[in-house]
């Protein structure tokens, strides 16, 4: 069984009578340890997909299973718990809490998990060491560069040892050099067996991952999936309609 299973998932917004199908009947399997990129033009539904996969939002139709657990029917409280335990997020705009220092930001998911202070500190320092920022623990996010802030966000995303790390345009706000370093960090994590889903509109960045899912108008337009035997790197699903 796959780590993540989406079956016929749709997300429909109605704005002033107009119906927007941000996701349109998407089915998708992601296994543990995969490094997947989701690409597509702006407005195609990448973020929407990530939010639904990441239990931040619920689909209008369809079913989702994460790690054997049915997500689409879970309560808000259960979803919060799943986000806390099984999912890590990295955002384009870093989304660190400005009033807390780096260490406290990394500790925050563990506070919601109810982990004791000493253990929290130790674990947070461990994660900061991993992203090379252990000497910035007492700094405020505003005192760090963009790349450093994104490293802190990654440390925070991984601190509860989640099953999946989601990253929405993690390099979108960084210069190409810094972005490259962040991507390198993701690649490293992937080789250590972490499941990572990377959302981007940049094919060059998507090229880093072995599996690529292209979204257009809320549908999966094509996929490059090395697991599909014989069709080395070019398994293309037909575009519907």
């Amino acid at each position: 069984m796959a780590l993540l299973e989406l079956r016929n998932v749709s997300k429909i917004y109605t704005l002033g009578g107009e119906v927007i199908r941000a996701l349109d009947d998407v089915s998708l399997d992601i296994d543990g340890g995969e490094f997947v990129s989701v690409i597509g033009p702006s407005g195609s539904g990448k973020s929407t997909l990530m939010h639904i996969l990441g239990c931040l939002d619920s689909p209008t139709h369809g079913t989702i299973q994460l790690d054997g657990q049915m997500i689409h029917s879970a309560s808000a409280k259960q979803l919060a718990h799943i986000r806390n335990q099984k999912i890590g997020f990295v955002f384009q705009f870093f989304n660190l809490l400005p009033k807390m220092n780096v260490l406290q930001n990394v500790e925050l998911p563990m506070i919601y998990a109810g982990i004791s202070g000493a253990r929290r500190r130790e674990r947070a320092m461990e994660m900061l060491k991993m992203v090379g920022l252990e000497n910035r623990a007492r700094h405020r996010p505003s005192q760090l560069s963009g790349g450093q802030q994104q490293r802190v966000a990654i440390a925070r995303g991984l601190v509860n040892d989640p099953r999946i790390l989601f990253a929405d345009e993690p390099t979108g706000n960084l210069d190409s050099h810094t972005g490259e370093a962040i991507l390198e960090l993701f690649r490293e994590l992937s080789t250590k067996g972490r499941t990572i889903i990377l959302v981007t509109h940049d094919p060059e960045i998507a090229a880093v991952t072995s599996r690529r899912i292209e979204i257009r108008d809320g549908k999966i337009a094509s996929q490059v999936d090395p697991r599909l035997a014989g069709l080395d790197r070019v398994a293309t699903a037909p575009v519907a309609g």
């Binding site: 939010h51 990441g54 931040l56 939002d57 808000a76 409280k77 919060a80 718990h81 986000r83 806390n84 335990q85 890590g88 997020f89 955002f91 989304n95 660190l96 809490l97 400005p98 009033k99 807390m100 925050l108 998911p109 506070i111 919601y112 998990a113 109810g114 004791s116 202070g117 925070r156 995303g157 509860n160």
Partner: protein, 450 residues
Amino acid sequence: MILFNTILIGLKEIWTHKFRSLLTMLGIVLGVSSLVAMAAIVKGMENGMKEAMIAMGGLDKVLIEEQKVPIHQNHLRDMAPGRTIRDVIALRESAPLIRIVSPEMGLDRVMVSRAGKWFRPSEVVGVWPEVLEMNLYELEHGRFFTDLDEELAKNVCVIGTGVRDELFGSPQEAGREIIPIGEQIHINEQPFIIVGMFKHYESEMERKIREEGLQSHTATAGPSRQRGWGRRNWNAFWRKNNVVYTPLNTMWVRFRAATGTNNVPYPTLSDIDIKVHSLEMLEPALQQARNVMMMTHGGIEDFNFRTQENQIEDINKRIKNARLSGGIIAGLSLLVGGIGIMNIMLASINERIREIGICKAIGATSGSIFLQILIESVVIALLGALAGLAASKGLVVFLSELAPSQNTPVIQPQVMGIAVLFSGLVGVVAGIFPAIKAARLHPIGALRYE
């Protein structure tokens, strides 16, 4: 654990907006300090009034007052006998529920003098020795009147310390005790020998001020503080210390001779006070007294009983009013404070929508967001309450400077507790709506919020 962290985060949030939070707390500070200070002042008032009541003779003292005859006896008006020594004797003989009866024959507009010093005492009254127990007097020096003094209508008197201070000088000024036993004074030009002097009576407040005054006097030798300013006031203690008592008979013979008919001096007493054996038996005792006096007055009801119950009711009413007004001020301040807190919390969550979204994304439940906001609100309120407690002390000092009274305000710990509790409650109530608003934010909506 989570609670502790939440409080910490809340404190940090408050610290980030120090000035804003301070302004917000002001209502609570005002509410708590006014509640505590008002309660302290009212308590002082209550103590003072109770003290004064005891100084005037205690709870079990009943005054037999003169009153106009009732309408249906109007035609008997001229036969109304008034309160006389006959009543006193009859009450003593025939009203077993009454413990003591003390007659008083007062003299209006009287001056006492000695060696060119003139003074108007609080009262100059002819009494029986029962007066000691009735008005709770103790002799400090000398003796009280004997049967012989009474029998022979001797020109002797017993005075309070205030009279001594006025005519012989006060010990504080003289720096030594002054005991004028055996000295002569004049009451309306008639010579009297002082045979006894009462103790000095003073309120708690006066005692404190006097002791402080003594200390600073000996310590600095500077200008002495206005010692015992409460004494100047026309209060119960001043009255108690400024009496001149003579034997009842003396008063009658010496000062009433010019009045009356058939060569008998005018016999009406100015007061009859009684004390009952126990307050539980007050009603039957008064009934007994009424029956007896109806007899001696030939059925004419020209008297009335006034118990301290009326006084106590009066005191309680005044205290209740003071409490009520204090409570209303405090309540309004707390209400305003609560509205301020709600306002600031709403502003605060509006500024933090994105942060709340982030917290939700990394696993905060709606419950923990709710708790976070609620705790912040309560923390602001409680900080305000603590500041209010500190301020109340200053307020008490300020208010007693502004309007000095004889009563030391008493800050009561239980009122402080109640004030803090109420502030916490205000914090909870003020925080609930913003907290619900924050908890309901959708993670995506909050994250996208610019």
